[in-house]
């Protein structure tokens, strides 16, 4: 249980195909060369007395777009909360630049690592520009409330996310997709090399989901930021991620590039979903197509 690295062998996988379900890519040691800037070591995560994960070790490769996937209640968001220091692990530690994140000053962490939580609240009547400017908090002091640097970074963050023309609009009047871009702009204004996003596409329609993910991919590609996102949609994860982390029941089942990790066996093991994996006709990344089983005759006829 305490062995570092993938612990897929411990997962209660389907007993029909015990050995074939382990592709070779999953046994490679993750990031053996250098320590990544952000990593979780032997984490035990719990709310009150309900344990979500035990002995979980996860690396976030530098400059990767890491996506965490897994079934509902597998501990994806909990892991992200631990990595962002929002949740204190019961045991184990999160390392940021080689030091335990719990020992670092909160403002210093907030200058290195940004978080886009699921449960943010926009105060009544706040404008886009004002909300984005609150992302500058970790860079401000009592007597240095708004430097020219703050102003420049906020303008840049709004331009990067395409909300500059909405600057003076109240946030509560915006559409869901626009609002999510505003929150991302706020996280960008924090100017952190690492950015964690907790289900950034939830509650958005598919066009806005793609819009937000394209934005994330661009931030990763053009600005060299390390992104960690929790996503529900496995196909979106496979398309956008450079590094995929698959969890089940609080355990790491697989980690690696989507092209190597996403196989029919893995999807079956992680999601209990029989499926086929074919190349995405647009991008060539793995595309998961659920099998038309069980009620096959009825749906096949249609």
């Amino acid at each position: 249980m305490n062995a570092p690295g993938p612990s897929g062998k411990n997962a209660p996988g389907p007993s029909e195909n015990p050995s074939t379900s382990v592709p070779p890519s999953r046994t490679e040691p993750p990031m053996a060369q250098t320590e990544p800037r952000l990593a979780g070591r032997d984490l035990t995560l719990a709310y009150d007395r309900r344990t979500i994960a035990e002995g979980l070790t996860v690396d976030v490769p530098d400059r990767s777009f890491t996506v965490v996937v897994g079934p509902n209640a597998c501990g994806k968001s909990t892991l992200l909360r631990a990595l962002s220091r929002t949740l204190k692990p019961v045991a184990g530690q999160v390392l940021l630049d080689g030091r335990s994140i719990a020992t670092l000053p909160a403002k210093q962490v907030a200058r290195t690592l940004g978080l886009l939580p699921q449960s943010s609240i926009a105060p009544d009547g706040i404008t886009v520009a004002e909300l984005v400017s609150r992302g500058r908090y970790p860079h401000q002091g009592v007597l240095r409330q708004w430097s020219t640097e703050d102003e420049r970074v906020v303008a840049e963050a709004m331009a990067d996310t395409g909300v500059a023309e909405l600057a003076d609009r109240p946030v509560d009047e915006l559409s869901g997709g626009q609002r999510q871009r505003v929150w991302i702009a706020m996280a960008l204004a924090q100017q952190t090399p690492l950015l964690l996003l907790d289900e950034p596409t939830t509650y958005l329609d598919i066009a806005h989901q793609v819009e937000v993910l394209d934005l994330c991919a661009r931030l990763h590609r053009e600005q060299g930021r390390t992104l960690v996102a929790v996503l529900h949609d496995l196909n979106q994860a496979a398309r956008y991620a450079t590094h995929l982390v698959a969890l089940r029941d609080g355990k790491l089942v697989a980690a690696g590039p989507p092209g190597e990790v996403v196989t029919a066996e893995l999807v079956e093991e992680v999601f209990r979903l029989p499926c086929r994996v074919i190349p995405d006709p647009e991008t060539g990344t793995p595309l998961v197509v659920p099998a038309a089983n069980r009620r096959a005759p009825a749906s096949a006829g249609a």
Partner: protein, 341 residues
């Protein structure tokens, strides 16, 4: 938003909020001058100002600076303290009903004061009892609402429950007092600035001098981050629980000291921040604007209570209830017509 920069230092402000602060302070100053002039020995506003600046005649100086000023200053300080406490509570529990009189802190202060009355203590002891009662109630509510952290809704519910119990306790305590004491206690319970001297104003002034910079400058930006939710605040480098505990403590202290000075002045802590919010039209805690509004509101209410009802002087708490409540209802009604709450 405008920015003022001097060398490496910079301050950010909203012109409208600044105008509101200036305007309400001007109103407060004007009413204060009027209040200092009215009474059995009327003094013209010009004379009042001269006396305040130390250039008045001996009689004016005595009446203005010795007799009437303590009451006016106490009104201004109590108004500012209650409004700041109310603005903090409302922001921290994310509920416009979060004010010390709804959450039970004021009732706790009253219990403390009544215990002193029953024991036959002096006025100074009564004020001390009020502060102790408020602080003990604050600690109790915080402990009862604690569940790995304090959540707004839970704090409001625990507070309302505590307020109900303490109201009952206070009623019981009133029946245990002598008739004379009971009359004094009831007057205190309605909130009154009658006969306030420097000894009431001084502790409050001291507390404001310490707590206002702490709350506005040191905790203000963090409080604005906390408004975005605990997770977002923690992502920005704020400790949500630590900040909440510090600010709740400051708010309870302010409310208790205000109650000690003037009794539980009704409704002001609830109204002033809501008024300030609507006049400044800006999101956020609006702490400074709330304080200025509260000071203006209470000094006006006290002036009205003293002089608008002929021979009968009303306790100021009655007037704040009517004045503040009425204005708030009017604002809500006009804003509902304009399509926003």
């Amino acid at each position: 938003m405008k920015t003022l920069r001097v060398a490496r230092f910079s301050v950010r402000y909203r012109p409208r909020a600044l105008a509101v602060c200036t305007g309400t302070l001007a109103v407060a100053a004007a009413v204060a001058v009027l209040a200092l002039g009215r009474g059995d020995y009327p003094i013209a506003p010009g004379e009042v100002v001269r006396a305040l600046l130390g250039n008045g005649g001996a009689a004016e100086d005595f009446v203005v600076n010795q007799l009437r000023l303590p009451r006016v200053v106490t009104a201004l300080l109590v108004g500012a303290a209650l409004a700041l406490a109310g603005a903090l509570f409302q922001t921290l529990v994310r509920n416009p009903l979060g004010s010390p009189d709804v959450l039970g802190f004021t009732q706790g202060a009253a219990t403390g004061a009544l215990l002193v009355v029953v024991a036959g203590g002096s006025s100074a002891a009564l004020a001390g009892g009020a502060v102790a009662g408020g602080l003990v109630t604050g600690a109790l509510i915080h402990a009862l609402a604690w569940r790995g952290g304090v959540q707004g809704a839970r704090l409001v519910l625990v507070g309302i429950g505590t307020a109900a119990i303490l109201t009952g306790v206070n009623g019981y305590l009133l029946t245990r007092t002598q008739l004379m004491d009971a009359a004094r206690a009831v007057l205190w319970l309605t909130g009154s600035l009658d006969g306030r001297g420097w000894e009431q104003a001084r502790p409050l002034a001291l507390a404001l001098a310490v707590l206002v910079p702490l709350v506005l400058l040191a905790c203000g930006p963090a409080l604005r981050a906390l408004e975005l939710g605990d997770d977002a605040a923690s992502g920005l480098g704020v400790h949500p629980e630590r900040l909440r505990t510090v600010l709740l403590g400051a708010a309870v202290l302010l409310a208790s000291l205000a109650a000690a000075a003037a009794g539980p002045v009704n409704f002001l802590a609830l109204t002033a921040p809501q008024l300030a919010r609507r006049i400044t039209r800006s999101p956020g805690p609006n702490l400074a604007a709330s304080m200025c509004t509260g000071a203006a509101l209470l000094v006006t209410a006290d002036f009205a209570a003293q002089h608008l009802f002929g021979e009968r002087q009303l306790p100021v708490g009655v007037v704040t209830g009517v004045l503040g409540g009425g204005y708030l209802l009017w604002l809500l009604a006009t804003q509902r017509r304009a399509g926003r709450l």
